[in-house]
């Protein structure tokens, strides 16, 4: 537990000092902002898939709903930013609940197919519903006046991400988190211990969708332009890859995975085909050699050092 806290403290200090390190370069801040938004999404997906055992391969659809809710509320209704952000979360959570209702009756591959269909359908709807979403042309959103510069909005995003991390960690530690993991481990035993399995699965979908919706809202403001193409299947799969690479059922793992897979394309995209090759190779190697993700590398070393110290003290 202490290792996790240290890791998160380290990450937050790094994130807060980052703009100073890169001399407020707008490109570097843009990349870091994307990383943070993906990290929120990866944590939400990990809550559902890593901890709860319910796979979702259409998670970008929730990001899309959050982003479009913000854009539409801003452009059509003129709602202020402080209202849009939570509303995007709530509306996405409601969609997550509705998706969760039928989805809880499916498991394994069937759930994967259902969420895949959801992930394919939402961008398609956004594309065709031109009156509301602007269709292929997308929508432009201005940053809120309070955080109008890239740097200030980056800081705002960081703070929101840290709050979400705190909330998710709290949830996982308590009664709800235990029930989620229990459902992953044995639905029969969870039911026998009084966990309302179908309700809790739906709840997991809603919570995960809520935070992803917030991430979508931040995305819309941060990037300033959204189109259906931004939320295609690729994004869903990359976020799924993030949590597998970083570590399933690990919050710090989600952050690590989001970091790596946001950075790789920025570095490798100048060589065509490189990104996808590296990502694929990294995934395969991780699954083969580190089934608990890259984060286990960090945790493992710490643990081994501790036992080594113990042995030393015993010998001495």
């Amino acid at each position: 537990m202490k290792i996790k806290r240290l890791q998160i403290l380290f990450i937050s200090i790094l994130l807060l000092g980052y703009p100073l390190l890169v001399g407020f370069s707008s490109y570097f801040i843009y990349v870091a902002g994307l990383f943070i938004i993906y990290a929120i999404m990866a944590m939400s997906l990990n809550l559902l898939t890593g901890f709860g055992g319910q796979i979702s391969i259409g998670h970008a659809a929730f990001l899309a709903i959050g982003a479009y809710t913000t854009a539409i509320l801003t452009l059509k209704l003129g709602l202020p930013f402080w209202l849009n952000l939570p509303l995007s979360g709530v509306i996405t959570a409601i969609v997550g609940f509705l998706i969760g209702l039928p989805a809880v009756r499916l498991s394994g591959h069937f759930l994967a197919i259902a969420t895949l269909a959801f992930g394919l359908a939402i961008p398609e709807i956004m594309l065709k519903w031109e009156g509301l979403t602007g269709g292929f042309a997308g929508l432009f959103i201005e940053k809120p006046s309070l955080f109008s510069s890239d740097t200030s909005f980056y800081y705002f995003t960081t703070v929101i991400a840290l709050i979400i991390t705190w909330l998710i960690l709290n949830l996982l530690k308590g009664n709800f988190g235990r029930a989620f993991v229990a459902i992953r481990e044995s639905e029969i035993a969870a039911e026998a211990m009084g966990v309302n399995v179908s309700l809790y699965k739906t709840l997991m979908f809603s919570i995960s969708a809520f935070f992803t919706g917030i991430a979508g809202s931040l995305y819309a403001y941060f990037v300033g332009f959204i189109s259906p193409h931004d939320f295609n299947m690729n994004i869903s799969l990359i976020v799924l890859a993030m949590i597998v690479l970083g570590g399933l059922a690990s919050i710090t793992g989600s952050i690590l995975g989001a970091f790596i897979l946001t950075i790789i394309p920025q570095v490798a995209d100048r060589f065509p085909g490189f990104t996808i090759t590296i990502t694929g190779a990294a995934l395969i190697l991780t699954i083969l050699f580190l089934p608990n993700g890259l984060i286990s590398l960090f945790n493992y070393k710490w643990k081994r050092k501790k036992t080594e110290n113990k042995q030393l003290s015993l010998e001495g």
Binding site: L167, N170, L171, K173, G174, N175, F176, G177, R178, A179, V181, A182, E185, S186, I188, A189, A190, E191, A192, M193, G194, V195, N196, V197, L203, I207, A249
Partner: protein, 258 residues
């Protein structure tokens, strides 16, 4: 009477797993159900814990109809169970496994969980205290923060029972509590089961193949064969029942001597 099954019949397709079964379990008893493999014993437990719904018949607990209850409501009404092949949450710690057993009694809301309110913290602390009491009873305190999958089978069985009793149920259903255990562990578990009844006032309905355990600690035994109850009574009554001997040893051949 704590638990009553009236004319319960369960069939899967063409197979009648339990046939017209009547069963009454009084409070404070250790009631054992024995019988050859496939006699329908586990099916009965699964009916009581509401994983199955019988085709016909009634099951009542404390005078209430149990069949109207959903599976996840059974624990709150006072019936808990362990599993034949331990259904533990294997990647969770021992402590967390026990805490899941308290799930219905933890009332703090999603929001108070997320924001870690004072009330939530207090509730968690109190729950942990109860869990440690159980660990103490089972002498498992030193394993509290270990993942269950790393522990030997005998200990996993104990944790399975611990998780079942942490909510202080009135009735505990044990599905082969000593299967796969050695003589030492069986003895320890027999002691534990009697203690659960004597100190915690938990009525026990168990299925077991280990006859030494059954004959030692049961107050009453029901014998099943092919979905039917063929005998019921105290230990000596059952032991001397010719039908039971037949089910276990095969037909008594009367012309052996000639």
């Amino acid at each position: 009477m704590l638990l009553e099954l009236k004319k319960v019949t369960v069939s899967f397709g063409g197979l009648t797993a339990v046939n017209n079964l009547d069963l009454q379990v009084d409070e404070g008893m250790i009631f054992a159900i024995i019988g050859p493999n496939g006699a329908g014993k586990t099916t009965i437990l699964n009916c009581i814990s509401r994983f199955y719904t019988p085709c016909s018949g009634q099951i009542s607990f404390k005078g209430e109809n149990l069949l109207t209850k959903k599976t996840h409501k059974v624990l709150a009404s006072g019936i808990s169970r362990s599993f034949q092949n331990v259904e533990l949450f294997s990647k969770m710690t021992v402590l967390d496994n026990l805490l899941v057993g308290l799930h219905p009694s933890l009332k703090s809301s999603l929001l108070s969980n997320a924001f870690k309110t004072k009330k939530n913290k207090q509730e968690e602390e109190a729950a942990k205290e109860i869990a440690f009491e159980i660990l103490e009873l089972f002498d498992l305190k030193h394993h509290a923060n270990e993942e269950v999958r790393n522990l030997p089978f005998g200990i996993q069985k104990m944790i399975d029972i611990g998780r079942a009793i942490i909510s202080k149920p009135k009735l505990l259903l044990l599905d082969e509590p000593v299967a796969g255990m050695n003589i030492e562990e069986t003895k320890k578990n027999a002691e534990l089961i009697t203690r659960l009844r004597d100190e915690f006032g938990i009525t026990i309905l168990m299925i077991e193949h280990d006859m030494s355990l059954v004959m030692n600690i049961s107050d009453r035994i029901a014998v099943m064969d092919f979905g039917k109850k063929i005998a019921e009574g105290t230990v000596t009554e059952v032991q001397n029942n010719p039908k039971v001997i037949e089910a276990y040893l095969g037909e008594v051949q009367e012309d052996v001597g000639t």
